[in-house]
């Protein structure tokens, strides 16, 4: 008993002693030095004073000191002040001899929401697809296409890292004790010192924190202009794996063995039906108006639909919210301007850009002289312009209104007439006099008009919505007249060809859309929405082939008008669990045309896993349905291709794609991506060659299918602290088509742009902060094509043995049996950013060479005929010509920026 009493006394005594000792510690007078700037430094100072403090360094870093340093305080008061708004608290150890600083457990238990906008600090532009990431929670999210984000976050002190390509990463540590709004403004890295330390460069972002598509870096675009120096956001698309183009970009781009008409090209959410200027030599998108370009080849978000292959999602800039800015620029042949600025600073802004192709005037002059020198009459004329206009207005803290408008026009015509007479003296001395008339007139004009009104609304901290009303319209008018006749003037016998064709088409889409994003919490996100579109298709085609001395293409009068309606709801659920990301989406599409309805469902599934901070993989399955079809009637893909709707037996085209991709970040900024895909396409429509095209298009098409498969490799170095950046891509691909008997007798044939090998290299080398050198080289297997290889005589088709010498039948062989030579080209460019003395005015130059070694990549081959007198008889000499687009062309462009260095 005595021992027990003694033990109790000892225990009580020690507790009491510890309590007294602790009280005495907390009552000790301490003083924080004025040199201590952070909480970490202040606590270390206390430790140095032999205060028995325990804390985790990583939990106390990142807080600036708010205490009035230099004044003497009790340790209790000092700690209370130091730990204010840090999410930390102090406790005495059980022994009472140490003071432990640890996260406030009450805050740690809070499940909170953080939301807000991520913007450009200099212009107020909202940043699309910026990453916001909490390293200690290992979770993050991405701003949507309006710069809005919403993420789950646990209470307490949390470090946040916000990053966006081309901007200085932003890092902060904040204490969260309630749902919070955090608007973050990032500094463009052009305003930063040359050497930047990036916090997130040695690991991939966690799955789900990145956009599923590929981001087209507009700075790279600026450094690799197209022919003449025209900067084109889509110029480099063919350098990415899985994408190929026609020679010099003609005919659009082809994603993974699909047609150009299978791509959904969106400008501020509005589909663009023809995005090419100059038949595709460059796009209608003015780089000065573009904020961001995303390309989706796989794992396509459910909000996108209506096309089979991929999505090119282009967003225009809003205009500077704080300062007026003005830019002027010119390249060989065209000039452009940009004006932007606030209407009410910080509240509303405008942006207007325009381009005009002044080279058209020179083309007219030089073409006339050129043709005269070749003994022909005629000239070429080209008019081209485009204009972008955008307004945006904040409507309180939760709403914002946008209005954007685009119009672009191409108007081209080319005439050529060659009229000559010559004599042939035969061996008997008789004179035969022949007249040759070769005349060509061609004209093509197309005009895009796009308009959209969008209203963003933040319903609450988890729910963001956007309402869109849109218009997209494409009008095309084209005519082609060709005469090649040989007339014997005395006898009057006449042979040759005369042909004219006129084409008119118009496609208009009026649309309403709602896109909602709901943060369900627990790392779950729901995207949902609805699209309602009303289309109007007008097509007209007329042709004739009677010989005529003075051919004039008659007006076409017959046309078909169709007005289908599309209703497409969608929903997509995204779950993130540890290192796994699952996404399941479903888009349905109700298509109503001519009284018939077609309902289709498009599931989108994706699973991704991060094996390590430097290694991840992704598997995706995409089903896409396309209710409108682009009928390409030419071999090279002209703007005259017709858009037609599904109806009756012509169901929407459909594709299933399975794709797998792995990524490895093997060194700072170096990345290796290897992927593969398999795609099948059904209900494809194509012109049945030889159909009588004067009537309804639906009577002249074939239905078919296609398949594509390939392996893609990308080695890339991101722009960072090094001087060198760029990428090397390689694609091994195979794609073919099978149609009904009307095309290639129903046998499978290669897709025209089935390029087995496709290699692209883009390198950017920073010579200094203001000068860089860029080069790109691409080489791809030649496109497949058909050509007549022989001919034979066949009398009247159903009645053999009649003597009809004109019925020459061509032997073309299997479709696309030949291959053009490999398509390759090297472009070189020096890029200069030069300021004036106070750096307010900047001059930007591009000087380089497009197609440096003057490679003539053929568009197609043709046969020409020359007539002459030879050995007393009329002789016709036929020879091949190679038609190509762009030989060696200088790159020269200049841009004047009146408000600081351009981004």
């Amino acid at each position: 008993m005595e021992r027990l009493l003694l033990l109790c006394c000892l225990l009580f005594g020690s507790f009491a002693g510890a309590a007294v000792q602790a009280q005495s510690i907390l009552d000790e007078e301490v003083r924080i030095r004025r040199t201590d700037k952070t909480l970490s430094e202040a606590l270390q100072h206390l430790v140095n004073l032999d205060i028995p403090l325990s804390f985790r360094e990583d939990q106390v870093t990142g807080f600036n000191l708010t205490i009035d340093a230099g004044r003497s305080l009790s340790l209790r008061n000092c700690l209370e002040q130091l730990l204010t708004e840090t999410g930390l608290k102090y406790e005495l150890s059980p022994s009472g001899r140490r003071i432990i600083i640890l996260p406030d457990p009450e805050l740690l238990g809070l499940e909170l929401t953080l939301y807000g906008h991520i913007t450009d600090a200099r212009s107020g532009e909202r940043l699309l697809g910026a990453n916001i990431y909490s390293p200690d929670l290992q979770q993050g999210t991405m701003s949507n296409f309006y710069g809005f984000y919403s993420m789950d976050i646990r209470g307490g002190a949390r470090e946040l890292i916000v990053s966006y390509t081309g901007y200085a990463p932003f890092s902060t540590k904040l204490v969260f004790d309630e749902d919070s709004v955090l608007d973050i403004a990032l500094q463009p890295d052009a305003t930063l010192p040359e050497v930047i330390v990036l916090p997130v460069i040695d690991s991939l972002l966690p799955v789900g924190v990145e956009a599923p598509g590929d981001y087209i870096d507009l700075e790279d675009v600026e450094r690799l202009p197209g022919p003449g120096g025209e900067v084109d956001p889509l110029r480099n698309l063919g350098l990415f794996p899985g994408i190929t183009t026609g020679p010099d970009g003609l005919g659009g781009f082809f994603i993974r063995g699909s047609d150009a008409g299978h791509n959904l090209v969106l400008l501020d959410g509005v589909p663009v039906f023809n995005f090419g200027h100059a038949a595709g030599l460059f796009s209608i998108f003015n780089a000065q108006a573009i904020r961001r370009v995303d390309l989706h080849k796989e794992a396509i978000p459910a909000r996108f639909g209506g096309r089979l292959a991929g999505v090119l999602d282009i967003h225009t800039r809003d205009g500077n919210l704080y300062h007026n800015q003005f830019k002027l620029g010119t390249s060989i042949g065209s000039s452009r301007f940009t004006a932007e600025g606030p209407l009410i600073p910080g509240e509303s802004s405008f942006l207007i850009t325009g381009r005009y192709f002044w080279g058209g005037q020179l083309v007219r002059y030089f073409s006339e002289r050129y043709k005269n020198r070749r003994g022909r009459e005629g000239r070429m004329r080209y008019q081209l312009y485009d204009v972008n206009f955008k307004l945006n207005q904040k409507l309180g803290a939760r709403d914002r209104l946008y209005f954007s408008f685009f119009r672009g026009l191409d108007d081209y015509d080319n005439t050529s007439r060659h009229d000559t007479t010559f004599n042939v003296i035969n061996t008997a001395g008789a004179i035969f006099r022949y007249n040759i008339l070769q005349e060509k007139r061609e004209s093509v004009a197309w005009e895009n008009t796009l308009g959209t009104v969008r209203w963003n609304h933040i319903f609450n901290d988890r729910f963001f919505g956007n309402f869109t009303f849109s218009l997209s319209n494409l009008d095309v008018d084209a005519a082609f007249v060709r005469q090649d006749s040989l007339r014997e003037e005395i006898g009057g016998a006449e042979t040759g060809t005369y042909y004219f064709e006129t084409l008119g088409s118009s496609v208009r889409q009026l649309g309403f859309a709602f896109d909602g994003q709901y943060n369900l919490g627990g790392n779950e996100k729901l995207d949902f929405g609805l699209r309602v579109n009303q289309y109007r298709f007008t097509t007209s085609l007329n042709n004739e082939d009677e010989l005529n001395e003075n051919p004039v293409g008659p007006d076409f009068s017959t046309s078909t008008i169709e007005q289908p309606i599309e209703i497409a709801p969608y929903a997509s659920l995204e779950l993130r669990r540890n290192r796994w990301l699952f996404s399941a989406g479903l888009r349905s599409q109700l298509w109503w045309s001519r009284g018939a309805t077609n309902l289709s469902f498009e599931p989108r599934l994706m699973v991704s896993n991060q094996l390590s901070p430097r290694l991840d993989w992704r598997l995706a399955f995409d089903v896409n349905s396309q209710p409108i079809h682009r009928l390409s009637s030419s071999t090279i893909g002209l703007p005259t291709d017709l858009w037609v709707p599904s109806r009756g037996d012509f169901k929407p085209a459909r594709s299933n794609q399975l794709s797998l991709r792995g990524r490895w970040l093997w060194a700072d900024n170096w990345r290796l991506e290897v992927g593969g895909y398999w795609r099948e396409m059904t209900h494809l429509l194509a012109y049945a060659p030889g159909s009588e095209r004067n009537s309804d298009w639906a009577e002249n098409v074939s239905i078919g299918s296609g398949q594509a498969k390939g392996i893609e490799v990308l080695i890339a170095r991101r722009r960072g602290e090094g001087r060198l950046s760029g990428w090397l891509s390689y694609t091994l691909a195979d794609s073919d088509r099978t149609f009904d008997l009307a095309i290639n007798a129903g046998k499978t044939f290669p897709f025209r742009y089935d390029r087995t090998h496709n290699l692209g290299l883009a390198l950017f080398y920073k010579l200094s902060d203001r000068i860089s050198f860029s080069t790109s080289w691409r080489i791809a297997s030649g496109a497949a094509y058909s050509f007549n290889i022989a001919s034979f005589n066949l009398p009247e088709p159903s009645e053999a043995f009649l003597n009809d010498p004109d019925n020459i039948i061509l032997e073309t062989g299997a479709r696309n049996r030949f291959r053009l030579p490999a398509d390759h080209r090297l472009d070189l460019n020096f890029h200069f950013d030069l300021p004036n003395h106070n750096q307010r005015i900047w001059h930007r130059f591009n000087i380089g060479v497009y197609n440096a070694y003057n490679r003539r990549n053929p568009l197609f081959y043709d046969l020409f005929t020359d007539y002459s007198s030879r050995n007393g008889a009329l002789a016709a000499d036929r020879y091949f010509v190679q038609v190509f687009l762009a030989p060696l062309i200088p790159i020269i462009s200049y841009e004047l920026n009146l408000d600081g260095r351009p981004q």
Partner: protein, 313 residues
């Protein structure tokens, strides 16, 4: 500097927009000439074969007939007869023909042709069973005299045939209009029949047929598979005569050819190729299906049924 830039700019423009084609050597291998054989044969008639050589796309003019070739017709491996050469006339190309042999329905025939300098060719075909026309009637008739003296008759006709439901049958359906040309006897106001001629009747571009299965349409008729309509087919067709030339409308002939698959594919492709436009808005010329091994052309049997309509106009 400014002058230099301007010159450079203009150079770029001119190069870009004007120098867009150049003469080149042939980008494709030019094939050696092949034998081209064309023969449509039917029951109980001598077999005629036209034979000539194909020519490369660089050659102009008319392909030349091939003479002194060995042309044989076989059943299985058994030579049935060697064809003889018949020189051409101003109205007919030279050809080869059997002298006694006449093919029959349902037997598979092989034609073989060889000539020095060419790869020998072979083709196989058979004559299908005929399909009778079961109904051929005039439904209506109206006419209109045009300003130029021509008269246009709009005729409504109905026709039916007994398509065998058990197999795929290929048809080449044709309508032929007889036109009588009368001549005045002196200045008596009396006319006598001078001669008759025949011209194909063009089929309507749209109408009761499901045109998606009408694979071709030309002045020579339409190609149809099986029977793409219920009951008799009603058609509105037009025939034109020139009253200035004292023409009168004669009989209307219907010919329903039951053709072999080779015939059908060849004619279908020929018509498609003929219709194909050379303009820039158009695709490549379609290829022509060809059942001649190592060569070009067609060797195809067909059968037929005919009916005649005396028009009530």
């Amino acid at each position: 500097m400014r002058t230099s830039l301007r010159i450079l700019a203009l150079f770029g423009l001119v190069v870009l927009l004007l120098r867009c084609w150049e003469e080149i050597d042939s980008p494709i291998p030019i094939p050696d000439p092949k034998l081209v054989l064309i023969s449509n044969f039917f029951p109980n008639e001598l077999v005629s074969v036209e034979l000539h050589a194909s020519q490369s796309v660089l050659e102009g003019g008319r392909p030349q007939p091939v003479e002194d070739a060995e042309v044989e017709i076989l059943v299985g491996n058994q030579i049935v007869e060697q064809l003889v050469f018949v020189p051409g006339t101003p109205s007919r190309l030279p050809y080869y023909t059997t002298q006694t042999f006449k093919p029959r329905v349902g037997i598979e025939y092989t034609i073989h042709a060889a000539k020095d300098g060419y790869v020998p060719i072979t083709a196989v075909s058979a004559i299908p069973d005929p399909v009778p026309i079961t109904f051929f009637q005039q439904l209506s008739s109206t006419s209109q005299l045009m300003e130029d003296g021509t008269r246009v008759y709009d005729l409504g006709i109905a026709i039916d045939y007994e398509d065998p439901a058990t197999r795929n049958t290929y048809y080449h359906f044709r309508l032929v209009q007889e036109v009588e040309v009368w001549r005045e006897i002196g200045n008596t106001g009396q006319y006598t029949l001078d001669f008759r001629y025949f011209k194909p009747v063009e089929f309507p571009r749209s109408g009761p047929i499901d045109w998606e299965v009408v694979l071709a349409n030309s002045g020579s008729g339409v190609l149809i598979t099986d029977k793409p309509f219920e009951g008799p087919l009603s058609l509105a067709v037009s025939s034109t005569i020139d009253e200035n030339q004292h023409e009168r409308l004669g009989r209307l002939f219907a010919e329903l050819r039951v053709v072999s698959r080779e015939y059908f594919n060849f004619q279908n492709d020929i018509i498609r190729q003929t219709n194909n436009n050379p303009g820039p808005f158009d695709d490549d010329a379609p290829s022509v299906d060809n059942n001649v091994d190592n060569g070009l052309g067609v060797f195809a049997g067909y059968n037929y049924a005919r009916d005649t309509l005396n028009l009530d106009i």
